[in-house]
């Protein structure tokens, strides 16, 4: 029998799209591609590290990879998840014939859509960072592990600042090493010109032979030399050539800003590049992206024990006070016993410095905020209920049909 030709007229596009998205073949193709992407992404973690592989393979619409030495364009995990979600909503919930016999499958598909939606919410809205405190210190500020932003601030005579102009991390980190971009802002009496941003770099004295691989300008006896990106993204220390230009004519005060000048211990202060324009002292630095949590955490005591004779930690835990306005709550944060409050989870993550003595060490908490952190659990519950309903329906159906067959055989 000859097939009917496809009607490609624009008026028929909605129908074509609906047919495409509700197709069982699309679901099958997506599952096959997801298997391939998962395999490639997992293997890539060995060379590229966890974070870089996650971004390239699973948080992308498309990516290119070499398969048997041939570059191939493949759909990324994000695109596949979106197509699968639409396919399941349209194909398994909307298009499917609604019958009581199919109620269980309907519920279980709803559970799977919840799981996919949870993944999207996590990707779009979840944050993770850390807070490090010495005993007696308190903070409501969480810092990113791997996102860096440019901060410029006026300094008073004591080297303190109350307000900062910030070039956000998304914008800063999108600048290429050979690219120039200029920025200005209300109240900022000069243009900020970025002459190249490097994701991982080291300032090297020009007296050293190692500086010869740096293509950038020499400033104050240093060149910024790009380094290979680390597998662990949080270990990268970016750098940038920056100029502060009062009149916008392309000249101005030039500096190399490097992430290594920021603080790596909660007890130390960052070292900005100081410069003066129109008699006002300013500071500029690359700083970790940071955000507030709606309460303060004060570290009262950090308990740290090592195994005898070796440097390996045996146990470490923190006694903290959570401060919400006038209300103070004392609690402990231990390994596997996080503090959950107001949507944030504080895990006991690490400590430092590594040569510190008990009583003189800081405690570091991983701080996660994921609006969908319980969704996988609930989606599995819903899916399980759906499959149980389906199992019961099929069982009853089987028993009824068996009885009918038996009755029919008896009668004949």
């Amino acid at each position: 029998m000859a097939r009917k030709p496809i009607d490609w007229s624009p008026s028929n596009w909605p129908k074509l799209l609906y047919q495409f998205f509700t197709s069982f073949k699309v679901a099958t193709a997506v599952f096959v591609l997801m298997t391939l992407v998962t395999l490639l992404g997992t293997l890539a973690q060995v060379d590229q590290g966890l974070y870089a592989a996650k971004v390239k393979y699973f948080h992308s619409f498309f990516f290119t990879d070499k398969i048997f030495g041939i570059p191939v364009l493949l759909p990324g995990g994000l695109l596949l998840m979106i197509i699968l979600t639409i396919n399941m909503i349209l194909g398994a919930l909307v298009k499917v014939r609604k019958r009581w016999r199919g109620a269980g499958l309907l519920v279980s598909h709803f559970g799977m859509i919840m799981l996919l939606a949870g993944g999207f919410v996590t990707w779009a809205f979840a944050t993770d960072g850390y807070m490090a405190l010495y005993p007696g210190m308190s903070s409501n500020r969480v810092e990113s592990y791997r996102d860096w932003q440019l901060e410029v601030f006026p300094l008073d005579e004591n080297g303190r600042a109350k307000q900062s102009w910030i070039l956000p991390s998304d914008e800063l980190q999108s600048i290429r090493v050979d690219e120039q971009r200029s920025y200005d802002a209300d109240g900022l009496p000069f243009h900020v010109i970025i002459n190249g941003f490097t994701k991982n770099a080291t300032p090297i004295p020009t007296a050293s032979i190692k500086s010869s691989s740096g293509k950038g300008k020499e400033i104050d006896g240093f060149k910024l030399v790009p380094q290979d990106a680390s597998k662990e993204a949080e270990q990268n220390l970016p750098g940038a050539y920056v100029a502060f230009d009062p009149d916008g004519e392309g000249e101005g005060i030039e500096a190399i800003l490097w992430a290594g000048s920021y603080r790596f211990d909660p007890g130390e202060d960052p070292m900005p590049f100081p410069f003066t324009i129109d008699g006002q002292l300013y500071g500029a630095m690359l700083a970790k992206k940071s955000w507030n949590v709606p309460f303060e955490v004060r570290l009262d005591e950090f308990i740290f024990e090592r195994h005898p004779g070796v440097s390996t930690a045996r146990n470490y835990e923190s006694r903290v006070t959570r401060v919400e306005g006038e209300k103070e709550t004392s609690l402990e944060i231990k390994m596997n016993e996080p503090m959950r409050f107001a949507g944030y989870t504080f895990f006991q993550e690490s400590f430092g410095p590594s040569d510190g003595k008990p009583g003189e060490m800081f405690s570091q908490f991983a701080v996660a905020n994921n609006p969908a952190d319980q969704w996988p659990l609930w989606s599995l519950v819903v899916t399980t209920i759906g499959l149980m309903i389906h199992f019961c329906v099929m069982l009853v159906d089987f028993i009824i049909r068996s009885r009918r067959k038996t009755a029919a055989a008896t009668q004949s």
Partner: protein
């Protein structure tokens, strides 16, 4: 057959939609109030200080005789490592571990310092391992030292330090980096209990990659 054309249509449309430019520069700068814990800064006088370059001449700082007339060295001391007094043979002398049972030193010698093969096998002998052939030494991995590819070696065994000592240290590991040329030889040697050295392998890389000659 309807599946394939639809798939191509959708894929092309999605690619076109997702291929956007991140855009040129604009007024993306925002302001924020700094919290109390982020209001103080350390203002330093020089870029060298801001980039954490500090002259650390361990030998002279500890009151010992400088190892040679070669230029002073600058380097990053990994977290948890301690500087010790240098000696006639050691330009930099560091220890690590709870009881300073791990050590790492840098030695510089004029000329080839006896050659690569002899030094690799001297260190292997100290660990009770068999000597390597010239081809095997040639095939050892390389790591950067002073911007040059240096020969990297790892040996496990029972460590006999020599130099008058008869002590044999069981289950140790040695990491070595040798840069030998007619212009001079540089040796970086790290030894200690195997588990401790394994824990500090990344710190060894941090230390060796930071080594440089002083600006002064």
């Amino acid at each position: 057959m309807r599946f394939l054309p639809s798939f191509i249509l959708l894929t092309t449309a999605t690619m076109l939609v997702s291929c956007g430019d991140s855009g040129p520069s604009g007024a993306q700068i925002v302001t924020r109030e700094l919290p109390g814990s982020h209001q103080s800064f350390r203002l330093v006088d020089s870029s060298a200080e801001r980039f954490r370059y500090q002259k650390r001449d361990a030998a002279t700082a500890a009151g010992a005789t400088p190892a040679s007339t070669a230029p002073d060295l600058v380097y990053t001391t990994p977290e948890g490592w301690k500087e010790q007094a240098g000696s006639m043979m050691r330009d930099v002398n560091l220890t690590f571990g709870d009881n300073d049972e791990g050590e790492c030193y840098v030695a510089r010698l004029p000329g080839a310092g006896g050659g690569l093969l002899a030094n690799v096998n001297r260190w292997r002998t100290q660990m009770g391992a068999e000597a390597l052939t010239a081809e095997e030494v040639e095939a050892l991995p390389k790591k950067p030292l002073f911007g040059q590819p240096a020969t990297f070696m790892t040996v496990d065994g029972d460590f006999s330090p020599g130099m008058g000592s008869t002590e044999v240290k069981k289950n140790h590991r040695l990491l070595g980096l040798i840069l030998a040329s007619e212009a001079g030889a540089v040796f970086v040697k790290m030894t200690g209990p195997k588990e401790l050295v394994t824990e500090n392998e990344a710190a060894f890389d941090v230390f060796t990659s930071s080594l440089d000659v002083s600006l002064n």
